[in-house]
């Protein structure tokens, strides 16, 4: 990983969004590992030294088996670029192909202690959580969302089961975003212009996997040597819906309804994601239903640890889907 040698704004800005502890930083760190393992030519680079350092440190920690603390301790504002393989332009008369301009997807992430919009996290005497202009951090998140056209929204079903606050973190900024887009004339079809990849995180947790298994949503990829279970794209929405049923507050169902309310159906896609993946025994090299937990329970005052090798699941896919969809739109606009 190195700072982006090329200059200029990335092709498509994607905003990372989710409640604190939903796994945004872990997902980004796993992204580097997943890209490297996939060998598809994509790589992630920082857009500035701070973002590069952040990614390097987190990736290093993850590779050493240490999972990040659940909550950010300070305001975090980072930008990276996902750079794809350059297209090969075949020369006329079979002359040597020349590399074209590589695709670039910009990724931005804003995070802060306790989140920005969560219930009960509002500063005393401060502005209303509905008022995005009052708090500069909220302002920054909204700016990030407004200027992006792709959103990676992380939904942590375990956190939802425990706290049930996903809706609290989602609804206020979404209404402010809609307000801004309406003012900017970009609410043309009654929906936000954004694409959103809803990542149901912690797919490796036994509770999530069991839920998917109980609903018959699991499949395996024939090309996967480990035969890791996965949830196909079309079924991930059903998994999300199923997991919403055990929300601590019962408000998770409204997350799904709100997504449908603000985003065009064609612009929503669900992914069952795991940054660390399932444990696979090094000797057996095959997923074992009796022993798949990759997270070691934490000791008191210590962070959680990862037990075995990382096998990220659906970490690259949401970003590439967003990148492909945004590229297609850009291309269509260019043609028109």
């Amino acid at each position: 990983m190195q700072p982006d040698p090329s200059r200029g704004r990335p092709d498509h800005d994607i905003a990372m969004w989710g409640a604190p502890g939903s796994g945004k930083t872990t997902l980004l760190a796993a992204l580097y590992i997943a890209l490297t393992k996939s060998g598809n030519g994509w790589k992630i680079v920082g857009s500035d030294p701070a973002s590069s350092d952040y990614l390097v440190e987190r990736t290093k920690d993850l590779l050493q088996g240490k999972v990040f603390p659940e909550a950010s301790m300070a305001l975090e504002r980072y930008h990276w670029s996902l750079i794809g393989p350059p297209p090969r332009k075949t020369g006329f008369w079979n002359r040597k192909a020349k590399p074209g301009q590589p695709p670039r997807i910009g990724i931005g992430m804003i995070d802060a202690p306790g989140g920005l919009f969560g219930a009960g996290q509002r500063p005393a005497g401060g502005p209303s959580p509905q008022d995005g202009s009052g708090d500069p951090r909220r302002q920054e998140l909204l700016d990030n969302l407004e200027h992006s056209r792709g959103i990676v929204f992380l939904f942590d079903p375990i956190r939802e089961f425990t706290y049930g606050d996903a809706f609290d973190h989602m609804y206020p900024p979404l209404t402010r975003l809609a307000e801004r887009m309406l003012a900017a004339g970009e609410f043309t079809d009654g929906k936000l212009p954004h694409h959103i990849a809803v990542c149901v995180t912690k797919f490796d947790d036994p509770r999530v996997l069991e839920t998917a298994e109980a609903r018959g949503l699991l499949t395996t990829d024939d090309d996967d040597p480990y035969r890791l279970p996965r949830v196909a794209g079309d079924d991930a929405r059903e998994l999300f819906h199923e997991l919403c049923q055990v929300s601590a507050t019962g408000s998770a169902d409204m997350v799904l309804e709100t997504l449908d309310q603000y985003f065009h159906p064609d612009r929503i896609r669900f992914f069952a994601t795991s940054s660390i993946g399932f444990y696979v025994d090094r000797r057996a090299r095959r997923f074992d239903w009796d022993d798949f937990q990759n997270m070691l329970p934490e000791e008191v005052d210590e962070d959680s640890r990862i037990r075995g090798q990382l096998h990220p699941i659906n970490v690259v896919e949401p970003l590439l889907w967003l990148g492909q969809r945004l590229a297609a739109i850009r291309s269509a606009k260019g043609v028109s």
């Binding site: 036994p206 239903w289 009796d290 329970p297 210590e302």
Partner: protein, 476 residues
């Protein structure tokens, strides 16, 4: 030289008394120089002869008009004084004087009771009757109430030990071997009963504070209704209610201290002080049980820690520090564990669970089902076991896939196996397995009543129980 009349009279009365039925009465009327005395004899519920007498002098019988002035009244008075029982009764008339008034009275009595036996005698009839009653042979068997213990179950049964058969006379003796347990506040009761029909009837009840042990007792029939016991401390009359006395009898004898196998499985991972505390509790239990049971105690000691979930860190398997050893050897092995202290602390050893399921597998495997010796499995620790496969507990599965539920079931179904536990946590916070491991007794590590726990697990010598009656010693 026996006096012929006296002997005849005595014999006649004795015969009449011997033939006296349970509901019958014998009337003996002595007509003497000073008046008429009536003796009424019968048998009580125990077949023992009982008698009463009513003396009447001649002036009493003559009335206010005198013997000659109103002979009819005098006759009536004499017949009334005879008090012959209205029911069929034997009547014996004893003429003890040649006084004219006596002769006349005898005539009236003979006329009124023509079937009456007529005897002549000079000896005081009262003394004769006392002699006859004291020498009366038993009409019912006498038995001593004793306890019989079932050798298998220790169940207790009340029964009677025959002392004297029917026909026994005073002076008869019999020997009986008795065994007494710890005396209670009222001592041990020696109850003699008679038998008439299916139910015994209490004849006498005496008691004494008899020290535990065996007694060779001689019972002597002093007279009907009176049995003297020798070979025992002095007995005192016991006035306890019979029903309550029998009601105080326990169902069975306390279990004998038999051989016991104490299997201690101790968790040796976690904080040093906590491991030391667990080992200390195990030491206390072994020492206490050894003091109670002595050589009858065998001890096994296992130590288990946490699983490693990193191939680079060695796994410390369950350690069998002692197996079926005497208490001294086990305590030596425990000392080594105390010296070693906690193991497998920190990463990569599991921070929240322990190899409890492996320890159970080791215990179940070694005890087996064929070994008939009773065993007490005492687990000392606090962490939950590893599940056999990944589950919602988020505790990683046992590398050997041992299933703690099945292993506990194996131990619970093993005959003669008792499960006890000393848990780091109070019962409300303990993993469900700890409730199963402590099925018989579950103690909290911070507050272990060692004596109480040992008693609950059957690791103490049996407490003395008081038996209200002596046990029949059948070893004789």
């Amino acid at each position: 030289m026996p006096e012929p009349d006296r002997d005849l009279t005595r014999k006649a009365i004795a015969q009449a008394l011997a033939g006296l039925a349970d509901t019958g009465h014998l009337t003996v009327v002595e007509v003497a120089a000073d008046g008429v005395t009536t003796f009424l004899l019968h048998r009580d519920g125990n077949g023992r002869p009982r008698g009463r007498s009513w003396p009447a002098t001649w002036p009493d019988l003559a009335g206010e008009h005198g013997w000659d002035a109103d002979p009819a009244a005098a006759r009536e008075a004499v017949l009334r004084a005879a008090r012959v029982h209205p029911s069929p009764a034997d009547v014996i008339l004893v003429a003890a004087s040649a006084d004219p008034r006596a002769e006349r009275a005898l005539d009236w009595l003979r006329a009124a009771h023509p079937a009456a036996q007529m005897l002549r005698g000079d000896a005081p009839t009262a003394a004769l009757i006392r002699e006859v009653m004291a020498d009366d042979p038993l009409t019912r068997p006498y038995e001593l109430v004793v306890l019989l213990a079932d050798p298998g179950t220790g169940g207790l049964r009340l029964t009677g030990r025959r002392l004297f058969p029917i026909g026994s006379r005073p002076g008869a003796r019999t020997r009986v071997a008795l065994r007494c347990t710890e005396p209670g506040a009222h001592g041990t009761a020696l109850a003699v009963v008679t038998w008439q029909g299916p139910e015994p009837r209490l004849l006498s009840l005496q008691s004494a504070p008899l020290a535990p042990g065996r007694y060779d007792v001689t019972a002597e029939l002093v007279r009907p209704g009176r049995v003297r016991f020798t070979g025992l401390p002095a007995l005192s009359p016991d006035h306890r209610d019979w029903e309550r006395l029998v009601g105080s009898l326990p169902d069975r004898l306390p279990g004998r201290a038999g051989p016991a196998h104490l299997v201690c499985a101790v968790e040796i991972c976690g904080a040093d002080d906590q491991v030391a505390e667990r080992l200390s509790r195990a030491r206390q239990m072994i020492s206490f049980a050894s003091g109670e049971l002595g050589d009858l105690l065998r001890v096994s000691l296992l130590a288990y820690a946490a699983h490693s979930f990193d191939p680079s860190a060695p796994e410390h398997p369950v350690r069998v520090a002692a197996w079926n050893a005497d208490a001294g050897e086990a305590l030596d092995a425990l000392g080594e564990l105390e010296e070693q202290g906690a193991v497998t602390r920190g990463y990569p050893y599991h921070p929240q669970a322990a190899q409890l399921e492996d320890a159970l597998a080791a215990v179940a495997g070694r005890l087996g089902h064929t070994d008939p010796a009773p065993a007490v499995v005492l687990t000392v620790g606090g962490r939950p076991p590893h599940p056999p496969r990944t589950d919602r507990s988020r505790i990683l599965p046992c590398p050997r896939r041992h299933d703690w539920r099945k292993l506990v079931a194996v131990l619970r179904q093993r005959p003669g196996t008792t499960l006890g536990a000393i848990c780091d946590h109070a019962a409300g916070q303990a993993h469900p397995l700890w409730h199963e491991l402590g099925a018989t007794a579950l103690a909290h590590l911070e507050a272990v009543d060692v004596r109480g726990l040992a008693a609950d697990l059957g690791l103490t010598a049996p407490s003395p129980v008081h038996l209200p009656f002596p046990l029949l010693d059948e070893t004789e």
